[in-house]
Symmetry: C2
Subunit: 277 residues, 2 copies
């Protein structure tokens, strides 16, 4: 489940986790930028509503993408693991220039798509340059290590979070969503404390991380991304804490980044937005 | 409202903000340690229930301190600013070997005690070595800059918090309480973003910061303290953010500290608890 090898001379496509509720905003700026990256009016967008249990989730996004000038936005109903083997679906999915995973329950995504040809095609297409976006549950699912579920609150405890394998487009980040709205710093810190190698991205609603081929994270949207960088963590008690115990963590770096700010996953440096004059 | 000068050769008394609910626990370990610092069985403890609107708050704490072996725990009913001028009260308050401020509303404390002889006596006694503890609203009130009120959630915005002058025993920390329980990281970050010189102490319930004469913060209690150190903050947009805007902050250091861990306010270094073997 490591990222597929990138063909020589081409860059990986953008990986775009969105914090949720981006479609409820009058000006869908995040989705418009995703459409640009997918080819603009000529994009072929594959919508995967597997996480959702609502009947019309795919159609709602088709309408939004149509409004943004995209004629070829198509819903792929992967409801069962058998659906994920269908050659007709896979053939069309392989031609997509952009993939969008809706919200719902990320365990619906991982249990349905995990280990199937669909997951393989998504990883291969992203490696070949196709942007893959996901909102809410779809955002959580994009990376190698996914927060399956957890508890709310700002500080970590030993039983705060449950991780599961995700789609695996990158292993450099662990994503959490509805971040400000649902008070999720504690579970993100707990997820990072297990093994402080990844960077935590806490995405507020209507806010997205556009993770470029160069591993630079650009912030777009109306709220903020909380970047939790454990590079300098000197100590955590996660190995010895009992189930409900609070967990001690020393040396986390934290950045709250808004529209126009960025963070580089390799150098681990944050840059401020250009000053509005 | 700067701390009173410390008499030659003596240390300031401990400043002890508590995150709240410490008296609801079967084993009041935090209050027991406060009693030790105040002189143990020979302590004369002044309880100030001004923050509370409940009739029996002072008496409840008298009973707890009696159970901890202290005969001389006495409630001072400073209900009005006129009460804070009463010579008989002030005379007795000056003889206290420990002061405890209860929870309630911190604006009751600042509006009633602020600028009165009571506030002056508390600062002078602390400078002379007497420990001063406060829980919940009482904790918020101890420092120079007090969080008066604010909104919940993990990430900061421009209208997230309102500061007011506090008792002024130290200006090195800004305290927030019921921290994990009420999701208050955002408002603490917002408070620090105004002027990143102080260290933020986010106190969970039944958890206390014992700030020693050497400015070392020792953690005691069943939960955690979130230490927010803005020493290395490179950028904040607090000066230009509009009312409801999210605020960009780059370069915060964060430590989650549990029982036995410590943080030095001068060197800004955290130390892990000794390993349980």
């Amino acid at each position: 489940m490591t990222p597929a090898p990138i063909p020589h001379g081409e860059g990986r496509g953008y990986i775009i986790p969105v914090g949720g509720a981006e479609e409820k905003i009058r000006d869908p700026a995040i989705l418009a930028r995703f459409v640009d990256l997918a080819g603009g009016r000529h994009a072929r967008i594959a919508i995967i509503p597997t996480a959702s249990t609502l009947e019309d989730t795919g159609e709602r996004y088709e309408a939004i993408f149509n409004d943004l000038g995209v004629d070829r936005a198509r819903t792929f109903r992967f409801d069962t693991r058998a659906d994920c083997e269908r050659e007709d679906y896979l053939h069309k999915l392989e031609r997509a220039t952009g993939v969008f995973l809706t919200g719902g329950n990320q365990l619906r995504l991982s249990t349905t798509l995990g280990g199937t040809p669909v997951a393989k095609v998504l990883r291969a297409r992203n490696a070949e340059g196709v942007p893959v976006a996901g909102t809410s549950a779809g955002a959580a699912f994009l990376s190698e290590h996914m927060i399956a579920f957890g508890k709310e609150g700002p500080s970590p405890s030993a039983d705060k979070v449950t991780l599961a394998p995700g789609l695996g487009l990158t292993n450099r980040v662990i994503v959490d969503q509805h971040f400000r709205q649902r008070g999720r710093l504690g579970r993100l810190l707990a997820a990072l404390a297990y093994n402080p190698f990844a960077v935590g991205l806490g995405l507020d609603e209507d806010t997205a991380a556009f993770i470029g081929p160069d591993d630079r994270v650009e912030v777009h949207g109306s709220d903020a991304i909380t970047v939790v960088d454990p590079s300098d963590v000197e100590y955590t008690s996660m190995d010895s804490a009992h189930e409900h115990d609070p967990v001690c963590i020393i040396g986390v770096r934290l950045h709250i980044l808004t529209e126009g700010a960025s963070f580089h996953l390799t150098t681990r440096t944050a840059s401020a937005p250009a000053r509005a004059s």
